[in-house]
Amino acid sequence: MGIQTITKQGYLSELVQQVQQVPMVKSELKELRDRASIILEELALPTKRDEEWQFTDLADLYAIKFTSPPPQTELDSGAIEHLILPEAKDSHLVFINGFYASKLSSSAALPAGIFIGNLSQLPDAYPIQDYLGKQQGSTEIFTAINTTGISDVAVVWASKDVVVETPIHLLFITTTGDTPTITQPRILVVLETGAKLTLVEQYVATGDSCSETIVSQPYFTNGVMEIFVQENAVLDHSRIQRETSAAFHIARSAISQAKYSQYHCHTISLGAKISRHNLDIFQTGEGTETTLNGLTMIKGNQVADKHSNICLNYPNGVTRQVHKTIVDDRASVVFNGRVFVGKKAQQTNAGQISRNLVLSPKARVNTKPQLEIIADNVKCSHGATVSQLEGDEIFYLQSRGLDQSTATSLLVEAFALDIVNKLPVASMRQILAKCMACKTMVV
């Protein structure tokens, strides 16, 4: 064991100690924590030598000592009101620094048969032990770190055949303090057979709607989300992440899809110092439909890494994936899109497109489609483009009277809005459209 490894293991055990200091809202969580601790004994923090982290160097993360924030950071409702989507005025949960803010949350608009709340509010009748921590991938190191310090869970649970029209908004706010802190959001979403709902998951810093302008201490968000979409259920999931440029954001969303279920996902990543999102889809029955739309838009020295992994082991699955990135300055994006089509996944129809717009000569894109196909009767396609803005497109707009900078920002915006416009909640689309307009503005 080299010196570096020892130091890194020391870092890991200190981090684990920190996250375990957060009190559990239910004592039953202890078992999950213990199991994760055992798993962690076998694991080491990843470096660029690990294939999964080849292009994303976490050395800057390991250089910072993070502590768990004190509970009960007070924010009054006025300070966060503007962050709540109007459509979800009475169907949202707010977590501040990982702690559930019950006064800022509301489920008044929701019909019977749908529960949203934190773990301590969840009635005992819900068989949570069958789901929490049960999704595949518990041995992934950051998932294990999250679980070893699990203290509370944001729970969204739709009972059989419950169709919820009102979107549900999960808002995770980090208030940055004087010292670097780590928070570990944990989400569990269960859609029982035939249920249908729309979920917006959002990460922001402080109460400000724009994290770009905030100068903050470093902080580390290490999130885990487990989603179970059962037979014939339909989930539309938007994930919006925007941290400050001093923040680290590592998260994993693991989704299982039972037969004939639909999972539609829109991930919008608007930056952090380093952000990494693992999106794992596990098919557990035939005829599933999966849509993954992604947009990453970063600049400065930011790094944004998306690893998606679709595992198909049953017939007649349809997956559609479009991942777009816009990368400026010296920023660097990574996209790794794995699609595994197992022997039994006949008649799979899987499409993947990775489109990358590079706005500066120093910006970097690493995009890798990774198709592993064992079944012999399938239709799978993939494509990746890395491009600059087309001169002819700019000329077309100029020839209609738009000056070059307006034309440029319109085109960049359009590239982004193509994904944003697929989001189901109108106010979220509008917020992001404004955000895109602001980000693409040529100063």
């Binding site: 002819d392 100029q398 020839s399 009277g401 319109l410 915006e413 809005l417």
Partner: protein, 262 residues
């Protein structure tokens, strides 16, 4: 229509231009007056499309000599958007698709940039929508196209109609139609031509660039010019187009060779 003593809108004098060092235009002369419709015909590679892009200010071409005057003022130093705002319009042979930008927004931004240039207040969304609905009729376009992304998924004919709709809104003094007939079936061609004819007036001038005589059955030119190897080698009335159609470009070349020999 040919009007005596009408204003000269465009005057191109001995224009030479190249792309990446290769000469494309080799001494082109053309004068267009208010009210007139001009057609430029010529084989592939003769420089027709290059000429249209140069008029609109495409940055890929280098002007190596000569002059382009628009209402007596040189436009060589003007950016494409300045030319557009002062009344030059190019209907593209291949209009670009811009996914993510609604056609309506695009039209409004374009229209307002021209109003701003003219010192007029910008139209708000509601007033603009009224205006655009009026103009839709020029090209018999369905209002549903306004909500779609610019040209995205449009058929060839729909794209060309959208170009003419833009022309209807921007009311240019000089409109250049670059192979507007390419990729159109006869019905679409009639609609587009009919739209163009509604927009032609005694105050503007049109330059119709085409391979085929077919379009000129519907947009009747006052002058037809034949372009070859970067120059206009012969000019005539609308009957020249018919003769070209019947006898081919080879005939013009031979005529020119005879001319030179004499």
């Amino acid at each position: 229509m040919i009007i005596e003593n009408s204003d000269v809108i465009l005057s191109v004098q001995d224009l030479t231009a190249s792309v990446e060092g290769t000469p494309i235009l080799k001494g082109l002369n053309l004068e267009m007056k208010a009210g007139e419709i001009h057609a430029i015909m010529g084989p592939n590679g003769s420089g027709k499309s290059t000429f249209s892009k140069i008029l609109a200010g495409h940055p890929d071409y280098e002007i190596t000599g000569g002059e382009i005057l628009f209402y007596g003022q040189s436009i060589l130093e003007m950016e494409p958007e300045q030319r557009a705002r002062s009344g030059i319009f190019l209907a593209f042979q291949y209009p670009l698709e811009i996914p993510g930008v609604s056609n309506l927004d695009f039209l409004r931004v374009a229209y307002n940039s021209k109003r701003k240039h003219a010192g007029l207040p910008e139209l708000d969304n509601f007033d603009f929508e009224d205006l655009v609905h009026e103009k839709l009729d020029v090209v018999k376009m369905d209002a549903a196209f306004l909500d779609r992304s610019v040209n995205e998924g449009f058929s060839g004919g729909e794209k060309k109609r959208n170009e003419i709709l833009q022309m209807a809104l921007l009311e240019p003094k000089l409109a250049i139609l670059d192979e507007t007939d390419s990729g159109l079936d006869i019905d679409a061609l009639k609609i587009v031509a009919n739209g163009v004819n509604q927009l032609a007036s005694k105050d503007n001038t049109l330059l119709v660039i085409t391979h085929y005589q077919r379009l000129l059955d519907y947009i009747i030119p006052d002058f037809v010019h034949v372009m070859e190897a970067g120059r206009i080698i012969t000019s005539g009335g609308k009957e020249l187009a018919l003769e070209l159609e019947a006898r081919g470009y080879e005939w013009v070349r031979e005529e020119e060779a005879l001319e030179v020999a004499r």
